[in-house]
């Protein structure tokens, strides 16, 4: 028997507390694979967000700091300034990065901090049970937009890659998705790119990953994948939004 894949060495668990059908587990595995391939586990400092990924330190075998809601880019900025030779990974969700922490991410990006950011966009607040996020689609029903999000009074979903692309010091911005094997492979390549950029001293690099939250969306896992394909991809087009190399 040929072993094609094993659990990444930097991943410490074979099970997570993520819900069935959740996208975080897939992204976690991709991070583990890239960390192993680049051999950076022992020089990595990871910022865990507030939200479902708060206990990342239970899953990844590296130094971790658990940040206040939205503040990871500020925390990471300081860590990278103190240890410029270390690898700093910022992992944030959409409520964390695009709502309460919008100021921190914009200014970290604008300063061109040499950090790698993984931004998980699942169009909702997962951990608190599926409330409206800044990325919630128009018409999408959540517990705090029970009749569906409307433009009037709630505004339109924020496209973070497009927004950050206006800042000249951002070096690499890409939006990917994990709704299919093909897109999962592309996501891994994007993660590798934003990691490699930091190691090469290129500067602020981020990958936005469209991800499933079946429990928050209150649909079965298969329909969550369909929601990305049929709804999210229309509003959040995949692609590279900035590549200054």
């Amino acid at each position: 028997m040929n072993i094609i894949k094993t659990q990444p060495k930097s991943i410490t668990t074979d099970s997570t507390k993520y819900c069935p059908g959740c996208g975080h587990g897939i992204i976690l595995r991709l991070i583990g694979e890239v960390v192993d391939e680049l051999g950076i586990r022992e020089r990595m400092i990871l910022t865990a967000p507030v939200g479902c990924a708060v206990v990342l330190y239970d899953y990844i075998f590296c130094d971790v700091v658990e940040c206040a809601h939205g503040r990871a880019p500020a925390v990471g900025t300081a860590i990278k300034r103190v240890h410029p030779d270390k690898f700093v990974l910022i992992y944030q969700g959409d409520g964390d990065l695009a709502a309460i922490g919008m100021a921190e991410i914009i200014h970290a990006a604008n300063r061109g901090e040499n950090m790698s950011v993984i931004f998980v966009n699942n169009a909702t607040y997962g951990m608190t049970g599926g409330q409206m996020a800044p990325t919630t689609l128009i018409g999408q029903k959540t517990t705090t937009s029970p009749s569906g999000r409307t433009v009037k009074g709630m505004g339109k979903p924020i496209r973070v890659c497009e927004l950050l692309a206006t800042l000249e010091e951002t070096k690499y911005l890409e939006r990917t998705s994990i709704n299919s094997v093909r897109n999962i492979n592309k996501t891994k390549a994007a993660i590798r790119k934003v990691f490699q950029n930091q190691l090469n001293g290129i500067g602020f690099s981020m990958v936005e990953v469209l991800s499933m939250c079946p429990v928050g969306w209150k649909v079965p896992p298969i329909e969550a994948v369909q929601f990305i394909e049929e709804q999210m991809l229309n509003y959040f087009p995949l692609g590279v939004y900035k590549d200054t190399e």
Binding site: I45, A74, A78, H83, E104, H107
Partner: protein
């Protein structure tokens, strides 16, 4: 900064603002990073450090907000660096979220609060109305910060050095509670080299440096598991706070022996009070001063001792607030002094008492 009187030794007699002395002390104490946001009346500190930290090749960053600044402090401290921020009252309110995380994460740092009038924007004059905020934790949860209260530029300089040592020794945030008068005050002081308080500080084995050759370190404040995890964490913190209370109560007395009236004050107010006390002493009136140098831990043991020694003594609490430290005085003395013998003279609105005003107030008490 004007320099004079170079003694030829390592110590120089220099003329500086309190806000500048704070910055120079931080550099000498080995502060690697400073993160802050402009606000009156503390802006001289970031301005001073912007220049000096560049000269010394240290890390200066003007943050996008007070919230970001304190979270940068959190990050730098977690990474093992000596780190400081400074602000004034409204900015300190914004920092409370981060201070709670720093306390919960058992991280050391130094926070300067050059207190101004409140609530809200208040004004930009000196005040002492952040006493509750500083001494009760300030943010959410069960925690304390060590609070040092300088009343001169010399003490601004010395206490910042002490603050870094105390923060590292106990792994708690240390606040320097200055005010708009002390921060803006220009006076000569001895600029000496860094004098460590402890022979040896505990190594920062918990710091995030990448886990090469060791198990990963995690800096966290969330305790979901086990069920009593947070309870155990809070008990551990409580033990530490008890230890700090037993080891670190700083106060000083002036003419308290045989005094009929003892004024209790800290910071700028203590110097104003001392002028009035000296004038009364010249006239043969027995008035003394009990000055706090730590606002937390509060020197309750020392005050009770004085109250027991001086029979029928009256206490006069003077604050640039409507009566915040007053409550700690009442709590400390509840078993030894009748409440009616604890009097209060306070100024609200970010305005300071004058020596004449304090003199009159003392006279009133004597003539009653």
């Amino acid at each position: 900064m004007a320099e004079n009187n170079d003694t030829g030794s390592d110590t120089k007699r220099v003329l500086m603002k309190g806000n500048e002395a704070v910055g120079e002390a931080a550099i000498k104490a080995g502060c690697l990073c400073y993160f802050a946001y402009p606000i009156t009346p503390q802006t001289e500190t970031p301005e001073y450090l912007a220049k000096r930290m560049e000269q010394e090749n240290l890390i200066f960053l003007q943050a996008e907000s007070e919230v970001a600044a304190i979270n940068m402090v959190f990050g730098a401290s977690a990474a093992g660096a000596r780190v400081m921020t400074s602000s004034s009252s409204p900015g300190i309110s914004l920092k409370q979220e981060g201070i709670s995380y720093i306390a919960g994460g058992e991280l050391p740092c130094v926070i300067i609060n050059v207190v101004r009038g409140g609530p809200g924007l208040g004004n930009i004059e000196a005040a002492q109305a952040d006493y509750f905020q500083s001494t009760r934790g300030g943010g959410h949860g069960d925690y304390r910060c060590i609070v040092l209260a300088p009343n001169s530029v010399q003490e601004c300089y010395d206490m910042v050095m002490n603050a870094f040592d105390l923060a590292d020794f106990y792994r708690v945030p240390v606040i320097i509670q200055s005010d708009g008068i002390i921060g803006q005050l220009v006076e000569p002081f001895d600029m000496h080299p860094y004098k460590p308080m402890f022979e040896k500080l505990p190594p920062k084995t918990w710091a995030l440096t990448g886990c090469a050759g060791r198990k990963p370190n995690v800096v966290r404040t969330l305790y979901l598991n086990p069920a009593n995890g947070l309870e155990m964490h809070n008990r551990k913190l409580e033990e530490r706070y008890k230890k700090i209370h037993s080891e670190l109560r700083w106060s000083e007395t002036y003419n308290c022996d045989d005094a009929d009236i003892i004024v209790i004050a800290y910071g700028a107010t203590s110097r104003i009070a001392k002028s009035a006390i000296k004038k009364h002493n010249t006239n043969g009136v027995k008035v003394g001063l009990f000055r706090l140098k730590t606002l937390w831990p509060w020197p309750d043991v020392e005050l009770v001792e004085i109250a027991k020694k001086n029979k029928d003594v009256k206490f006069l609490v003077i604050e640039m607030s409507m009566g915040q430290m007053l409550e700690d005085v009442q709590l400390s003395l509840m078993d030894v002094v009748p409440k009616k013998d604890i009097l209060f003279y306070g100024m609200g609105g970010g305005w300071n008492p004058t020596p004449d005003g304090v003199y009159e107030k003392i006279s009133e008490i004597i003539n009653k």
